[in-house]
């Protein structure tokens, strides 16, 4: 141990999780890339050619940030929730809980690994998309910023689900019933300005709108909502997740009777 931080433990958990991803490269990398490519083929190449430009951006290029967000959100939640749920399910969590590691170190290791995986997938999808449609990234720094921030935030959210879940069904239910619908209705495939006023206002209650909008702004400089608001909303959700995780470890919720 070095000083007051058990960096070796963080490295051990992080590497363990990354090794798991490499072992299952088929399902953890290839399948999200394949399904996103299918979206490009259908929406970008086939339908997109018959669509008008949105905010001066060809439709095929317009949907790229939203599609990356869709994968980023589902992958972050899936990776992080499985990463902590599986040791609970298999009983191997005892070792992590009995080790000289702080709660913060546990979260950094598991969430860091999950976020790393989804960022890598996001970048692979970005590279894949560039094969289908010409892309421009006006604010690369902010693009990476939103990518990392979203991956970390939703990996934290996934971690919470993984601690909460009492079975594999519950593990699937949140991504399936909440994340996917919110992403589809969050302006991945359209600008919310295209909606009637009532639905547009309703959409503003969907947190994913802010993520997609901010992320798209970093590509094309155009956004549905102000980019500062996007950033603030993402940080707010990050904060909510951090508070929830702090509560989990303070009370021992589902980890420590």
């Amino acid at each position: 141990m070095t000083g007051g931080v058990n960096l070796r433990a963080v490295a051990a958990i992080y590497n363990f999780e990354m090794a798991r991803a490499l072992r299952t490269v088929m399902q953890s990398v290839i399948s999200p890339v394949l399904s996103t490519s299918l979206y490009f083929v259908v929406f970008g190449a086939a339908i997109g050619q018959r669509m008008n430009e949105i905010d001066g951006v060809p439709y095929g290029a317009f949907i790229v940030p939203g599609l990356i967000m869709l994968s980023l959100l589902t992958q972050s939640v899936a990776n992080a929730s499985f990463g902590i749920y599986f040791p609970r399910f298999a009983g191997t969590i005892y070792e992590v809980l009995s080790a000289p590691v702080s709660y913060l170190e546990i979260v950094i290791a598991y969430v860091g690994a999950a976020a790393t995986k989804s960022i890598v997938i996001g970048l692979i999808i970005l590279a894949t998309a560039s094969l289908f449609t010409p892309l421009s990234i006006q604010h690369p720094f902010w693009m990476m910023g939103f990518l990392v921030l979203t991956a970390v935030t939703f990996s934290l959210f996934g971690f919470i689900i993984g601690v909460w879940a009492d079975g594999f069904e519950q593990l699937q239910v949140i991504p399936l019933l909440i994340i996917t619908p919110l992403t589809f209705l969050g302006g991945s495939f359209y600008s919310i300005d295209m909606l009637p006023p009532f639905w547009r206002t309703l959409s503003l209650f969907n947190p994913v709108v802010y993520l997609v909008s901010g992320f798209r702004w970093s590509f094309y400089g155009k956004a549905d909502v102000n980019v500062e608001i996007s950033l603030a909303m993402t940080l707010a959700f990050l904060l909510v997740c951090l508070v929830a995780i702090r509560w989990i470890f303070k009370t021992g919720y589902r980890l420590k009777p």
């Binding site: 141990m1 007051g4 058990n6 070796r8 433990a9 490295a11 051990a12 958990i13 363990f16 090794a19 798991r20 072992r23 298999a90 009983g91 191997t92 005892y94 070792e95 992590v96 809980l97 009995s98 080790a99 000289p100 590691v101 702080s102 021992g252 420590k256 009777p257």
Partner: protein, 310 residues
């Protein structure tokens, strides 16, 4: 020597209201092998789980080598190794990877030479590249022991180490525990196999219903509570015990062909000697004799059923 583990006033009430531990006090000396004996549900695993940080205590304090398990958890936990009761192992990882992971998790720098020796000692070296899921139950148990020892702990907890384990592994485990003790490691094992406690332990604690009802040196416990029987096989059967021998606690068995003398193991020799002298004086002759001593199991069953403190 100062105690490596000091537990005082430890209580645990689960959210369900079940009181698993009731004000337990226990001090474990450095280098001893301590067996915690008790029926299922007595509180053995809860006690271990609190010390290892898996369960929150309700009340009381636990110090490991002077470090409080909550305030100073890093110092406390880095000294502890735990072999859990359940066979909770990784599945897809190799033996080597899982053991190296454990060492890193406890903050120790890499030491392949130590891990190699550890795996060899546990007959796991040949299996080091195999996935854990492909191993037998006994081999998985060895993997759990290797994981617990990977960070060179000073205090090792073995929760029911030999439950459902074959004879060979049990012998290996006992040998390993003795070797560990020689290097100064303190071992606390829980078991409901009396044989194990009798074979291994320096001291024995009996826990039942969440209360530690007795802690005693094994030898002292056996002597204190042990009942000895001297069985004399008589040349001629007796119909009744001769009046001259009335002051001894004697009984006749096997149709009068065996004379049985029951006595306290602590104050043995003098009485046995005088009995034999008095027997020959009374003209009773015997052709053979044997003694039996009550096992720890008899003592244990007596304690737990009696339920009382001694």
């Amino acid at each position: 020597m100062s105690p490596i583990l000091e537990i005082s006033g430890l209580s645990k009430t689960y959210a369900s209201g079940f009181q698993a531990l009731k004000h337990v006090d226990l001090a474990i000396e450095t280098g001893e092998i301590f067996a915690l004996l008790g029926p299922n549900g007595a509180g053995k695993t809860t006690l271990i789980s609190i010390v290892c940080g898996l369960v929150n205590r309700t009340d009381g304090t636990v110090m490991v080598a002077g470090a409080d398990i909550e305030r100073d958890y890093r110092a406390a936990r880095s000294l502890i190794g735990l072999v859990p009761q359940e066979l909770s192992t990784d599945r897809f990882e190799s033996v080597w990877d899982t053991v190296a992971f454990s060492r890193g998790l406890f903050g120790k720098p890499k030491n392949p030479a130590y891990l190699e020796k550890l795996l060899r000692d546990l007959s796991l070296w040949e299996k080091r590249d195999e996935r854990i899921m492909a191993l037998s139950g006994g081999m998985k148990r060895r993997v759990l022991i290797a994981k617990a020892l990977a960070h060179e702990p000073r205090l090792l907890f073995l929760d029911e180490p030999t439950a459902g384990v074959d004879v060979e592994l049990r012998r290996d485990m006992w040998r390993l525990i003795r070797e560990l003790r020689e290097t100064g490691v303190t071992v606390i094992l829980t078991t409901h196999y009396i044989e194990e406690a009798e074979e291994m332990a320096d001291r024995i604690g009996v826990i039942t219903g969440g209360e530690l009802i007795l802690v005693e040196e094994k030898a002292a416990l056996m002597a204190k509570l042990g009942r000895k029987e001297l069985i004399l096989q008589l040349c001629e059967p007796l119909s009744e015990i001769p009046a001259a021998l009335g002051r001894h606690k004697l009984e006749l068995r096997a149709g009068g062909s065996e004379l049985v003398y029951v006595y306290d193991a602590t104050r043995e020799s003098a009485d046995v000697a005088s009995l034999v002298t008095e027997l020959s004086a009374a003209g009773v002759q015997f052709r053979d004799l044997r003694t039996t001593q009550s096992s720890l199991e008899d003592i244990f069953v007596g304690l737990v059923n009696g339920g009382g403190r001694s």
